[in-house]
Amino acid sequence: MMNLFKIAIRNLIRYKRRTLLTASLITIGVVFVLVFVSITGSFKAMMIGQITDSMLGHLQIHRKGYVASIDNLPLNLNMKPKAYAKISTVLGATPEVEAYSPRLKFGGMFSNFTETTNIRLNGVYPDREFQTVPLLTSRIPEGKKTLSRGEILIPTLLAKGLKVKLGDTVVIVATNADGSVNGKQFIVSGILESATGPGGRDGYMHIEDAAEVLRMPEPEVSEVAIRLKNFGLLPKAVKQLEGKLADAVNKEGKPMFEVHAWEQLSPFFNIARMIDVMTFFIKIMLIAIVLISIMNVMIMAVYERIREIGTIAAIGTLPGRIRSMFIIEGLCLGVVGAIIGDLIGIAVVVVINLVGIHFDFGQQKGLLLKAALQPSDLLIISVIVILVAVVASLQPAFKASKMEPIEALRHV
């Protein structure tokens, strides 16, 4: 086997310029794919992190039917304290769960005493909310990074529009479940930067204040946001929680709760999928580059070495060995291209991070792109390139091994 590699490598060195051009083509393809994968992957990971860690949580539990009507924030689909207690018990007994936060969501009117507009609000237990969505505090550039009874965090666009500042008193008016209307004064304790996606322009207040505005004797819960210890275990955690909550059924005998991963709650998931599709097509392009360039170079190698093939066949080299010689030649080209491409790709990613690329996404400005390459990306792309190199060599290799030595020796 070592001799096959020796012959293959020497044959590649024999046609230096052609080998260099082909290896360069493969290298450029690998670098391009790695840089694309690192940038888009990092962008995706960053945006998913922003969405899940500053608003949604990794997954949420709602009463069945709530998500379908979530635009209306229906109070009649809130979970009663007893139902929430059941969820709380289940979450407490699930080791994968790092934190969870019950939210009472409602829509109301926001007034600064001269102007009024509508607002969507989350009543939360601040400590639990900040544990579940830890980036929420980073969205508060002005004001306290805490939330006490009688205080409210309002979105920046609303604050600008109604010229409300920190420490101002505002009024929240909301329609209760029984149809009556109630209002309560709050002090603006913080201005929240908007975030992309649902809930990105919501305000926050203490859940007991929310229950008071809505005249609930005890706070009901619209949703429970959950943060996992390991985000990678999300699909498993969703299944696990669905299983544990399956025995809670309503009067119709149907499941009482619904478990949704962030993908089902945010439209960014479609962008993430689009990124995956684009990455897939970029990989297809890489495969095409490797396939065509290696096949081309190997076909030329076979045509140029017909007499050599005839000679080694005449002296008794079995067809399988001849085949192996050319396949190994293609393999070596693929390996060299992949390794150099990996090294240059890593270097480019390092340079990108040193230079620092900033970008805006929706209302979020000046996000710093942290391009990162996972070892799995390097491995997968390298394996693809090497496999395709071998596949591309098969046809020329079979052609060489099937040559009649007598005809090959006559070739001029």
Binding site: I7, T311, I312, I315, G316, R321
Partner: protein
């Protein structure tokens, strides 16, 4: 017992419109350790006979036994295995592998064809290099040595597998006369030293004289067999 026994061998080539009779009813026998030449003008069938004996081609009719094997009935893979085991080849254009050194060219059939153990391989190559006088050039590549030296390497490569038969198609055609005689002399010495049968084709009348058995061919027919010393049949 004859090493090669050919009975009524015919070889036809079909071109688009015409059938070319390259060999017609050729009969001959070759004994082990002979030094044999097939002689004739261009197109007489010399190369065709060598190709048939070398399992590179199959007769259209007739029977051809080489080393007790009916080579006409061998499949593609069996032919390759037979060549690797029993035959050695020397080509007009030397056909050394350009990316391998002299040493590696001789080593090639031992690794890629016969899978000989490293120690034995080394011993055989050293013996062959010494026998063809190329020990000092062992590390050189084919493009760094002369035509005569290349043919010496080709002789060594053909013999290193200990074949019972070496086939050489016009082995001196690309060499000057002095080198040609040297190569033929080397082949004869190898026959003497190793007992290998050598069959070569040539149209060079001077070189022909070096053979001990001469088969004359004309238009695909065997016209004469001459033994060294003038005997004819």
């Amino acid at each position: 017992m004859a090493l090669i026994k050919a009975q009524n061998i015919t070889k036809d080539y079909q071109t688009e419109d015409v059938v070319v009779h390259a060999l017609q009813d050729v009969d001959f026998e070759i004994e082990p350790a002979s030094f044999v030449s097939f002689v004739g003008p261009s197109g007489s069938g010399k190369t065709t006979i060598l190709n048939l004996i070398g399992c590179l081609d199959k007769p259209s009719a007739g029977s051809l036994q080489v080393a007790d094997t009916d080579v006409g009935s061998l499949g593609r893979k069996e032919s390759a295995a037979f060549r690797g085991k029993h035959l050695g080849f020397i080509f007009q254009d030397f056909n050394l592998i350009p990316v391998l050194t002299v040493y590696e060219n001789i080593e090639y059939p031992l690794i890629m064809v016969q899978s000989i153990a490293p120690q034995e391989r080394k011993e055989r190559i050293s013996r062959m290099l010494a026998a063809v006088g190329m020990t000092d050039q062992a590390h050189k590549y084919p493009h760094q040595i002369s035509g005569g030296q290349k043919q010496r390497v080709a002789v060594a490569r053909a013999l290193v597998t200990n074949p019972s038969l070496v086939l050489a198609d016009e082995p001196t055609a690309n060499l000057d006369s002095q080198t040609a005689y040297a190569v033929i002399g080397l082949m004869k010495k190898m026959r003497d030293d190793f007992g290998t049968t050598f069959i070569f084709s040539t149209h060079d009348t001077k070189i022909v004289g070096e053979a001990e058995v001469i088969f004359r061919l004309e238009d695909g027919k065997l016209t004469a067999k001459e033994m060294k010393g003038g005997a004819k049949s």
